[in-house]
Amino acid sequence: MKGLRFLRYGRLLPAMAWGLGLLILWEAASWYLLQVRQVPLAQSKLPYIHEVLSAFAEYGDTLVQEGAVTFGNAGLGFLLGAAAGALLAILMSLSKWIEHLAFPYAVASQMIPILGLAPILYGIVHDERVARVLIAGYITFFPVSINMLRGLRGVEPSALELLYSYAAKPWNIYFKLRLPASLPGLFSGLKIAAPLAVTGAILVELMGARHGIGVIMLRNLYYGPSHTYMFWSTVIVGALLGVASYALIGGLERLIAPWQPEFRDKGGDRL
């Protein structure tokens, strides 16, 4: 119960106030551009929020369907990338030799711009689904690996000596100390990667696919001003997917590693 109250007063209320203020400001600015300044193509630049919302209501089914396709592909790639990243982190923590071998390539891989990599990859695999999954995984891999490695390595020496004094077996040192200690790092990597994986999947969709939020985003952009509201709806769906992915990982973190300092009850509600 305490947690929920914290949510209501500590976070939800200010968030709602901010949201409402932003909406009002948006409507006002939109009206100003359209009616007062009479800017050409004013609605493409800043559409009425209520119009966007009505497009949302009208084409909700499509938006949800296409959004789900994007989210599914991004999610699959994310899972694969996270698994590969975690595995590499574990291997690198076990052996300096593997780290020296793999680390420079892991860093170098991040120098390739996604915008260039996506069409190359698409040209090779010729499958929109596989390409999306691969790009999402590729983006996820690095932050997860780096952050988790730091957690695995950054164990307090005295915590390690304690196990040494119990004559602990190597796997016990791993499972009882290093892995739990790496969870905060793992989750910060996952939280960085999750929205990026969604963005990556959308990027691949923009380059040619039959389904996904990126596809209708592009289509409505081509159709021009008449489809402005729908275009903006797809952009909002894309953003929501990113937020949802982040929130999902955050929730998972609270379940799996609730012992971290930032989750500790300070005692007394913050009002």
């Binding site: 004094s165 119990y166 004559a167 012992w259 300092p261």
Partner: protein, 259 residues
């Protein structure tokens, strides 16, 4: 000789420890020889930097001496460690954040492959021993510093170590808490009856607890004197107010002035 009859548990002969790196060399300990009998409570006393922690870590096989030999029950310190003879309490509690109090206490038992039901029984016993009943399901950060250090003691005792090594376990606590925990430690020791090597920089703490105090002096760390503490047990508040107690304090303080 009364102690000679007893079985020597820890024997150090001419132990020296030199820390060397590329840039510098520190002669941390030099020619340390001492015998600690089974079941004794001894203290290593000295100002900070005189090598107390180094000496304790040598006994625990966390580091190896650069000269001399260390024997535990006639065998090497490494064999003693592998046989899980040591319980160690560090200056900081070193509790694992992700484990509840009872899980922290059970950590050594898990390493030893003790069954879950048996672990539960032992943890309950230990919580009572260190007077933390009802705190088993708390997380370490929900406890005060003194309580955390009691958890660390319970954890060290859980594997029923023949030797308990303690490195200034109470130095971060206020004096009231420290004196209370000193009395509790003695009552625990009275029940467990293992060998204790206790590191401290407090003269009164070392006298109150020990059968014998090894006084160390710095640069390089050497044994400057050995003081037997013949105060009767059980020791309590009255012990601290007795003239014998004050005499011993004066004597040990005097041994520092010679340095």
């Amino acid at each position: 000789m009364e102690t000679a009859k007893r079985y020597p548990e820890i024997e150090l002969a001419n132990v020296g420890m030199r820390y060397s790196s590329d840039a510098s060399e520190v002669n941390a300990l030099q020619e340390i020889s001492l015998d600690i009998a089974k079941g004794e409570f001894v203290s290593l006393l000295g100002p900070s930097g005189c090598g107390k922690t180094t000496l304790l870590r040598l006994m625990a096989d966390l580091i190896q001496p650069t000269s001399g030999s260390i024997k535990v029950s006639g065998k090497s310190a490494k064999e003693a460690r592998l046989a899980r003879k040591y319980g160690i309490v560090f200056q900081n509690p070193v509790l694992y954040d992700w484990r509840r109090v009872e899980e922290n206490i059970a950590l050594p038992l898990e390493m030893m492959g003790v069954k879950k039901s048996e672990r539960k029984r032992k943890v309950a016993e230990l919580l009572e021993l260190v007077r933390l009943q009802g705190f088993g399901d708390k997380y370490p950060w929900q406890l005060s510093g003194g309580m955390q250090q009691r958890v660390a003691i319970a954890r060290a005792l859980s594997m029923e170590p023949e030797i308990l090594l303690m490195d200034e376990p109470f130095s971060a606590l206020d004096e009231f808490t420290r004196e209370r925990l000193n009395e509790e430690l003695l009552s625990i020791w009275g029940q467990v009856n293992n060998t204790v090597v206790f590191v401290t920089h407090s003269i009164s703490e070392s006298i109150f607890l020990s059968d014998r105090v090894y006084v160390l002096s710095p640069h390089p760390g050497r044994l400057s004197s050995v003081v037997d503490i013949p105060l009767p047990r059980p020791r309590n508040r009255e012990t601290r107010n007795s003239p014998e107690f004050f005499n011993l304090i004066a004597r040990i303080r005097g041994s520092f002035e010679g340095v």
